[in-house]
C-alpha cells in the first residue's frame, strides 16, 4: 500500500504547491478530470457507501429512458482476456424515478451528475431530456447522449452507427435542452472522427468515447453463445488501445472537448488519454474489481502531474506530439 500512501501524500502537497486539477467540460465543472462511466456505478448509492460521491470529478449515472426498461435475459456478463463482455440491455427504472428518487438524493450528496440518456426513437430521447429540464437548477450538470449501446435492438447503435441519424438525434436533443450536451460515440464504426464531426455540427458540446466494442464468446462444451443476447459489448483493459487511438483521432477532428473512456485502470492510463486529447476521463469496468478505483486513479493521476511539474490539466490535454 506504500505506493498509494505516496500518491495520497502527493495530492495534498501538490494542491499546496498550486496544482489545480479542476476542469470544465463544455460547462460541466469538475474538481478533477476523473469521472465514473455510465452503467458501471448505477445511480451512485452503492459507491456512496464507500466514499463521498462529491470526490468524483463527475458521476455518469445509468442510461435512463422515458419509461422503465427491463433489460436483457441472462447471462448478461462474461469475462474475456483482460476484458468483460456485457449485454445488460440498459435495464433502468425510467426518468421519473430518476427525478423523484435518485436525483434529489444525488444533489444532497453533492455529486456532479451527468445523466446518460437512452431511447428507442428520437422522440423518446427528446422526452427524457425535456423531463430532465424540470429538475432543479444545478441538479443535472450535463447530459450524455447514449447513441452507442450495442445491446438493444432499437435506439442505441441504430443512431450511433449512422452519422446522419447521429446528427439528427443530437440536433433534436440540442433543441430541447440548454444543459451541456455530451454525445457518447460508438467504436463500432470505420471512421469515428466523422461521427464526432457530425454531432459537433449538430450542436453537441462535447463527445465521450468509446462505448463498448461489439464482441461475443462461445461456450465450446455447450456449443452456444455465452451471453443471453448472443453478442455483447467489450470493455476493460483489452479495449484501451482502441479507445486511445479513437480519442487521438477525434480530438484532432473536432474543436469541442473530448471525454476519454475505455479500459482505464490506473493514473497513467488516464494520463495517456489526456495526452491523446481528452479533457476528462471515465472509469468503468475497473470499478467492478476495485470499487475505490476512481479515487485511486485520481490520486495516481495527480501524483503523476506533480511529478511532471504540471499544474493544470489543460497543460497536458492533447500534449502528446505526433511522431
Amino acid at each position: 500500500m506504500r505506493a498509494q500512501d505516496d500518491a495520497g501524500a502527493t495530492v495534498a502537497t501538490g494542491v499546496a504547491a498550486g496544482l489545480d486539477p479542476a476542469v470544465s467540460v463544455a460547462g460541466i465543472r469538475c474538481a478533477h478530470p476523473v469521472w465514473t462511466a455510465s452503467g458501471c456505478c448505477n445511480y451512485g448509492r452503492e459507491l456512496a457507501a464507500l466514499f463521498p460521491l462529491r470526490e468524483l470529478g463527475a458521476i455518469c449515472v445509468k442510461g435512463t429512458s422515458v419509461e422503465p426498461w427491463t433489460g436483457n435475459p441472462g447471462p448478461r456478463v462474461a469475462e474475456t482476456a483482460a476484458g468483460l463482455l456485457n449485454a445488460i440491455g440498459l435495464q433502468n427504472p425510467g426518468v421519473d424515478h430518476l427525478l423523484s428518487v435518485e436525483l434529489p438524493w444525488l444533489t444532497a450528496e453533492g455529486a456532479t451528475v451527468v445523466v446518460n440518456v437512452v431511447g428507442r426513437t428520437i422522440e423518446e430521447y427528446v422526452a427524457v431530456v425535456e423531463r430532465l429540464g424540470t429538475a432543479p437548477t444545478g441538479a443535472v450538470a450535463g447530459i450524455e447522449l447514449n447513441i452507442s449501446c450495442p445491446n438493444v435492438r432499437e435506439g442505441g447503435l441504430q443512431f450511433g452507427a449512422d452519422a446522419r441519424a447521429a446528427a439528427e438525434v443530437t440536433a433534436a436533443v440540442r433543441a430541447a435542452t440548454r444543459l451541456p450536451l455530451v454525445v457518447k460515440l460508438s467504436p463500432n464504426v470505420s471512421d469515428v472522427a466523422a461521427f464526432a464531426a457530425a454531432v459537433e455540427a449538430a450542436g453537441a458540446d462535447a463527445v465521450s468515447l468509446i462505448n463498448t466494442l461489439l464482441g461475443m464468446a462461445i461456450d465450446p462444451t455447450r456449443r452456444r453463445p455465452v451471453l443471453g443476447n448472443t453478442t455483447g459489448g467489450l470493455s476493460g483493459p483489452a479495449v484501451k488501445p482502441v479507445a486511445l487511438r479513437m480519442v487521438w483521432e477525434v480530438s484532432r477532428a473536432v474543436s469541442i472537448p473530448v471525454v476519454g473512456v475505455g479500459g482505464i485502470a490506473s493514473g497513467l492510463d488516464a494520463a495517456e488519454f489526456l495526452l491523446a486529447g481528452a479533457r476528462a476521463v471515465q472509469v468503468g469496468t475497473a470499478i467492478f474489481a476495485d470499487p475505490w478505483s476512481p479515487l485511486r486513479i485520481r490520486d495516481e493521476l495527480l501524483g503523476w502531474m506533480r511529478e511532471q511539474g504540471i499544474r493544470r490539466v489543460s497543460e497536458v490535454v492533447g500534449a502528446a506530439r505526433p511522431r
Partner: protein, 298 residues
C-alpha cells in the same frame, strides 16, 4: 508501464447505508460490507476439482451470515502490482463462519482461469476480499419450532454448513439432505456434519449414501409444516421449489449467477422475477430468494 499500482482499498468500512431497501422484513440479512485482506491458513484439495480454503478474516467472520458470499481477487492481496487479467473477482459462497476464531472457509470448484490461479495460492498468502455480500438465509430464530430441511447439491452444499451451524445456535434441529453425481463431488459434507444435526447423502451413481437424486429423498420427507433452504444447480433448485410449492412448504433458494461486480452496480447477475416482467439482482436482492420470487430456469 500503465500497470495499476497498489490497490486503493484499505480495510475500511463499506456497506449498504445508501440503498433504499436496507431492511429486509422476511429475515434475510444484508450485512455492511468492506474490503479485507485475509490470510490463507489452510488450502486443501477436497475432490477431483474442488478445494477448501480456510482464511483468517476477522471482520468478515464477525459480519458474515450463511448464504452471503465474498468477492475474491484470485491474483493475490493487491499489495503487488495488479495485472489486468483475470479482470474480475470471483464470487464464492461462505462455507463455515467462525466469528470467535476470526475464520471463514470457502469451497470452490476449478472451472476456469481464475479459479485455476486461485488453486495455486498457498498457506500464508494473502487474499483481497470484498464482503460479506448479498442477503443471507432468513434469520432461523424467527421460526424456532419449524422443522428445517437443508437441501444441497454438489458445489451448492458448502453454504449449508454455515446454515446448519446458524440454525442449531438458534435452537433449530436442521436435517441436511446432500446429493451429488458421485461421492467425490460431495463438497463440504464434512463441514455440514461438523455443524451437527442429521445428514443424509445421496449420489446418482450410488458411490456414497443412497443411490438417486437428493430431490427423491426430499419428496419422501417433505410436509407443509417444514421450511426448506436449498443450494445447488438450477435444475435441482427448480425441482426443490416445485416440490415445496406442491407440499405447501416454505422454501428459500440460494442461487448462482454469472456476476461482475457483486455489489449492485453492474446489473449483470439478473435473475427473472417469477411474476411479471423484469429481473432481480442475485448479488444484492439475493443470492437467497424466496422460491416464489424467482424463476431460476429462465
Amino acid at each position: 508501464m500503465a500497470r495499476p499500482a497498489a490497490l486503493h482499498t484499505p480495510d475500511r468500512t463499506g456497506g449498504w447505508s445508501q440503498l433504499e431497501d436496507t431492511e429486509s422484513p422476511d429475515g434475510r440479512v444484508r450485512s455492511p460490507w468492506a474490503h479485507e485482506t485475509a490470510t490463507i491458513l489452510r488450502h486443501a484439495r477436497g475432490g477431483p476439482d474442488w478445494y477448501t480454503l480456510t482464511l483468517s478474516a476477522g471482520a468478515l467472520a464477525t459480519a458474515a451470515l450463511p448464504g452471503q458470499f465474498v468477492q475474491v481477487d484470485v491474483r493475490g492481496d493487491g499489495a503487488v502490482a495488479r495485472t489486468a487479467d483475470p479482470l474480475l473477482r470471483r464470487p464464492l459462497s461462505l462455507c463455515t463462519i467462525d466469528a470467535a476464531g476470526g475464520r471463514i472457509s470457502l469451497i470452490y470448484r476449478v472451472v476456469g482461469r481464475g479459479t485455476a490461479l486461485l488453486a495455486r495460492a498457498r498457506p500464508g498468502d494473502r487474499l483481497s476480499l470484498l464482503g460479506p455480500l448479498g442477503r443471507s438465509f432468513p434469520e432461523p430464530s424467527r421460526r424456532p419450532d419449524q422443522p428445517l430441511l437443508l437441501v444441497g447439491g454438489g458445489l451448492g452444499i458448502p453454504p449449508l454448513a454455515g446454515a446448519a451451524a446458524w440454525a442449531r445456535r438458534a435452537g433449530r434441529q436442521p436435517v441436511a439432505l446432500l446429493g451429488a453425481r458421485r461421492a467425490a463431488d460431495l463438497a463440504g459434507v464434512t463441514e455440514v456434519r461438523a455443524a451437527g444435526g442429521a445428514v443424509v447423502t445421496a449420489t446418482e451413481d450410488g458411490s456414497a449414501g443412497r443411490r438417486g437424486l437428493v430431490t427423491d429423498i426430499l419428496s419422501a420427507r417433505l410436509s407443509a409444516d417444514m421450511e426448506v433452504w436449498a443450494c445447488g444447480p438450477n435444475p435441482m433448485l427448480a425441482a426443490v421449489a416445485d416440490l415445496c410449492r406442491r407440499a405447501g412448504a416454505e422454501c428459500w433458494l440460494c442461487v448462482e449467477r454469472p456476476m461482475a461486480c457483486g455489489f449492485g452496480v453492474c446489473i449483470g447477475c439478473a435473475i427473472s422475477r417469477a411474476a411479471g416482467d423484469g429481473y432481480l439482482k442475485a448479488c444484492v436482492d439475493g443470492p437467497v430468494f424466496a422460491a416464489a420470487e424467482v424463476n431460476v430456469l429462465a
